[in-house]
C-alpha cells in the first residue's frame, strides 16, 4: 500500500508580468488502488497540478508539500520522481527526434527498474501491450511520437503506463481529442493497469465522458487553483447535468 499526499500546494509560473499564482492550496490524498477524478473548467489549474507533481521546471512550488509514502517528492528531480513510481501521461506528448519507440521503452524500463529487462520476455510484453492497445507493430521502429496522430500519441502514453508499472499515474486530459473508439481502447488500458498492479490513478479531465469507462472512487471539482468540492461518483453525474457554471459564477 502506497500513499501520495498533496498538502496545501501553492504553485506559480513566471510570466512577462511576473510570477503568477496558479495553485492556491491544494490538498489531495491518493492511496494505492484508488481512482480519483479531478474535474474543472479550462484554466482552473488542473494541468498545473499534474505537471507540478511530475516536476516540470516551468512551475515553482511556493508553499506546501508533496509526499510519496512520506518521502519529500519536491526534493526529487523529474527522473527521480519517475523512478520512485510516479507517472504522468501527458496531454501533449512531444516528438523525440532520433529515438525509436523500442529503444525508448527499453531505456525507460531499465531506468525505472534499475536493470535491463530480460530481452525475450520484454519483447513479448511489449508486443502484447501494443496488441491490447491496437498499436501497429511498425510503431516500434518509428521515432517517439514523430508523425503520430493525436490518438496514437495517447495510446503510446498508456502503453508506457502499462509497461513501466508505476505506483501512481496522473492522466492529464488523456481523453481530449479522442474519438469514442480510441477513448474505449485507452480507458481499457488504464483499467488493465489499475487491476494489474493496484495502481493509484489521478484522472484529470474537463469532460465526464471518460468516466463512463473509468469509474472513479472520488471526484474533486477544481476551480481557481484549488478543490472547490469533493464527493463520490455521483458528483460527476451532477457535473454532467449542470456543468461548471455553479462554481465559476460563485
Amino acid at each position: 500500500m502506497s500513499i501520495l499526499q498533496v498538502k496545501n500546494l501553492h504553485v506559480s509560473v513566471d510570466t512577462d508580468q511576473g510570477a503568477k499564482e496558479i495553485l492556491r492550496g491544494v490538498d489531495l490524498t491518493i492511496r494505492s488502488g484508488e481512482i480519483h477524478a479531478v474535474m474543472g473548467p479550462n484554466g482552473s489549474g488542473k494541468s498545473t497540478l499534474a505537471y507540478s507533481i511530475a516536476g516540470h521546471p516551468k512551475y515553482t512550488v511556493t508553499d506546501g508539500e508533496i509526499l510519496l509514502d512520506g518521502e519529500n517528492v519536491l526534493e526529487m528531480s523529474v527522473d527521480e520522481r519517475a523512478r520512485a513510481g510516479l507517472f504522468l501521461a501527458m496531454q501533449y506528448p512531444v516528438e523525440i527526434p532520433g529515438v525509436s519507440v523500442s529503444n525508448f521503452l527499453r531505456t525507460a524500463k531499465t531506468a525505472v527498474t534499475g536493470e535491463a529487462p530480460a530481452l525475450r520476455t520484454w519483447i513479448k510484453d511489449v508486443r502484447e501491450a501494443m496488441d491490447n492497445l491496437k498499436i501497429d507493430s511498425t510503431f516500434s521502429e518509428r521515432n517517439v511520437n514523430e508523425g503520430f496522430s493525436g490518438g496514437e500519441k495517447k495510446r503510446h502514453e498508456i502503453l508506457q503506463l502499462e509497461l513501466l508499472k508505476p505506483r501512481f499515474a496522473i492522466l492529464d486530459e488523456t481523453d481530449s481529442g479522442l474519438d469514442v473508439d480510441a477513448l474505449k481502447i485507452v480507458s481499457e488500458g488504464v483499467n488493465r493497469a489499475h487491476a494489474a498492479s493496484d495502481l493509484g490513478v489521478l484522472l484529470i479531465t474537463h469532460y465526464t465522458r471518460i468516466l463512463r469507462y473509468i469509474k472513479p472512487d472520488f471526484v474533486h471539482v477544481f476551480v481557481a487553483g484549488k478543490i472547490a468540492e469533493e464527493g463520490g461518483p455521483e458528483l460527476a453525474d451532477r457535473l454532467e447535468a449542470e456543468g461548471y457554471d455553479r462554481y465559476v459564477k460563485a
Binding site: 511530475a54 516536476g55 516540470h56 521546471p57 528531480s77 523529474v78 527522473d79 520522481r81 519517475a82 523512478r83 507517472f87 504522468l88 501527458m90 506528448p93 512531444v94 516528438e95 523525440i96 527526434p97 532520433g98 529515438v99 525509436s100 529503444n103 525508448f104 531505456t107 525507460a108 531506468a111 525505472v112 521515432n143 517517439v144 511520437n145 514523430e146 508523425g147 508506457q160 513501466l164
Partner: protein, 386 residues
C-alpha cells in the same frame, strides 16, 4: 514531397533572395589564378572567414605525401604517380580556389587501383596523419575496376592544414563503399573536394564523417556518366564549440535512369559551433527516369550554435521518377528532456539517447561494424564533455 512535420523544427526557406548560379555553369580549373581571392561575398565561401582557412587559399602549398600510409587486400595497388600523368584530372577539376591550390601544389598523386572483379570484404585503408600546421596539398585517385566490390576508408587524424582532392572513378557495374573520416586535432583545417564519376550500372556509397578540426569542409561531387547507376551520399557530423563543419554535396544527373539519395545529419553543441550544408542536385535534360531525394537534419543541443542548411534542386526535364528534398534544424529542448526524464531517464542518458539515435543511424548505413563502434564511442566521449 514535404518533410515530416516535427516538433521544434524550422523549415528551410525556398528561393530566398538572389537567383542561384546554375550549377553546371560553375568555373572549373586546375589553376589557382583562375579563381579570385576568397571573400565572404562569394557564394561558395559566404559562411566562413578567409582566415579560417589557415593559409589554404595561398598560391603555394607544401606537399603532404610523407604522412600518408595505406593498406588493402591483394588486388589493390597503391602507387605515387606524377600528377601531370593520366588518369589524374580525368574525373574532376577544381571548382574553387582552395581545391585548385591543392591540385596545383600536389606534384604527386596517390593512385589506388582496385582490380576488375575484385570482391573483397577486407577494407582498403588510407591513413592521413598530420603533425604540422603548414598549409599543404594532397591528391588521391581511386579507380574501382569493373565488377569490383570493395570498401575503402580514408582516415584523417593528427594536426593538419590540408587541401585535398580525391578523384573517384567507379567503372561499369562496380560497387564502392567509401568513407572519409575527419577526426583532426584542434587547430586543424581541412578542405576536401571529392569528384566521383559513375559509369553504367555502378554503385557508390559515399560517407563523410566529420568530427574533429577547427574547419572541415567537404564538397563531394557525384556525376553519372552512364545509365542505371546509383549513388548514396551520406554524411554525419558533430560540431563543438568554435568548430566549423561544412558539407556541400552535389549530384549531377547527367545520364538517364540513375538514382541518388543524399542524407546528412549533424549535431551541434557549444558556443559558436557552426555547421553548413548546401545540397545541390542537377537533373539534366538527358537524365530522364531520374530518382533523387536529399535530406539534411540538424540537432541543436545547446544555445549559441548555428546550422545553415540549403537544398537546391535544378530540374531540366519533367520526365523523372521523383525528386524531393527535406531540410530541418531542430533543438533538443527542455520539453524533450522533460518527457524523457518523466520516464525515469537521467538527463545525461536522455541526451545520449537522442544524439546517438539521431547520428548513429547514418554511420550504420556504412555497414562497417568496427566503424560504427569506434564512432559511437567517439560521440559518447564528446557528449560527456558537455
Amino acid at each position: 514531397m514535404g518533410a515530416p512535420v516535427q516538433h521544434g523544427l524550422t523549415e528551410h526557406s525556398h528561393g530566398a533572395g538572389v537567383p542561384l548560379q546554375i550549377r553546371s555553369d560553375r568555373l572549373r580549373s586546375s589553376s589557382v589564378a583562375d579563381f579570385p581571392e576568397i571573400t565572404k561575398q562569394q557564394d561558395l565561401w559566404r559562411y566562413l572567414d578567409a582566415d579560417q582557412l589557415k593559409g589554404l587559399d595561398a598560391d603555394v602549398l607544401a606537399e603532404y605525401s610523407e604522412q600518408v600510409s595505406f593498406s588493402g587486400p591483394a588486388g589493390v595497388d597503391f602507387e605515387w604517380i606524377l600528377s601531370s600523368a593520366a588518369p589524374v584530372g580525368s574525373i574532376g577539376l577544381p571548382e574553387d580556389r582552395v581545391s585548385a591550390a591543392g591540385y596545383t601544389n600536389a606534384s604527386k598523386t596517390l593512385l589506388v587501383k582496385i582490380a576488375d572483379e575484385l570482391n573483397s570484404s577486407e577494407e582498403i585503408k588510407i591513413s592521413v596523419h598530420g603533425d604540422s600546421t603548414s598549409a599543404s596539398a594532397l591528391h588521391v585517385f581511386i579507380s574501382a575496376g569493373k565488377f569490383s566490390n570493395t570498401t575503402l576508408i580514408i582516415e584523417h587524424t593528427g594536426l593538419g592544414v590540408l587541401s585535398e582532392n580525391v578523384e573517384i572513378a567507379v567503372a561499369a557495374e562496380a560497387k564502392l563503399n567509401l568513407v572519409t573520416l575527419q577526426n583532426w586535432d584542434k587547430g586543424s583545417a581541412h578542405v576536401s573536394a571529392h569528384f566521383a564519376k559513375l559509369e553504367r550500372n555502378s554503385y557508390l556509397k559515399h560517407t563523410v564523417a566529420s568530427f574533429g578540426g577547427d574547419l572541415v569542409r567537404v564538397t563531394p561531387i557525384a556525376t553519372f556518366s552512364g545509365p542505371g547507376a546509383e549513388v548514396e551520399l551520406n554524411g554525419v557530423y558533430f560540431a563543438e564549440a568554435g568548430q566549423h563543419l561544412e558539407n556541400r554535396p552535389f549530384v549531377d544527373h547527367a545520364a538517364p535512369n540513375c538514382k541518388s539519395r543524399v542524407t546528412y545529419k549533424g549535431a551541434l553543441q557549444g558556443e559558436k559551433a557552426h555547421t553548413v550544408w548546401i545540397g545541390d542536385v542537377l537533373i539534366r535534360a538527358i537524365a530522364e527516369g531520374t530518382d533523387t531525394y536529399e535530406l539534411n537534419r540538424n540537432l541543436l543541443l545547446t544555445d549559441g550554435t548555428r546550422a545553415d542548411s540549403v537544398p537546391n534542386l535544378e530540374i531540366e526535364t519533367g520526365e523523372i521518377e521523383g525528386a524531393g528534398h527535406a531540410s530541418a534544424s531542430g533543438r533538443f529542448d527542455d520539453e524533450h528532456l522533460f518527457y524523457l526524464q518523466a520516464r525515469g531517464i537521467t538527463p545525461d542518458e536522455a541526451r545520449r539517447l537522442v544524439v546517438l539515435g539521431f547520428l548513429v543511424e547514418v554511420i550504420q548505413k556504412t555497414g562497417i561494424p568496427t566503424l560504427v563502434d569506434s564512432l559511437t564511442s567517439l560521440l559518447e566521449e564528446k557528449l560527456n564533455r558537455n
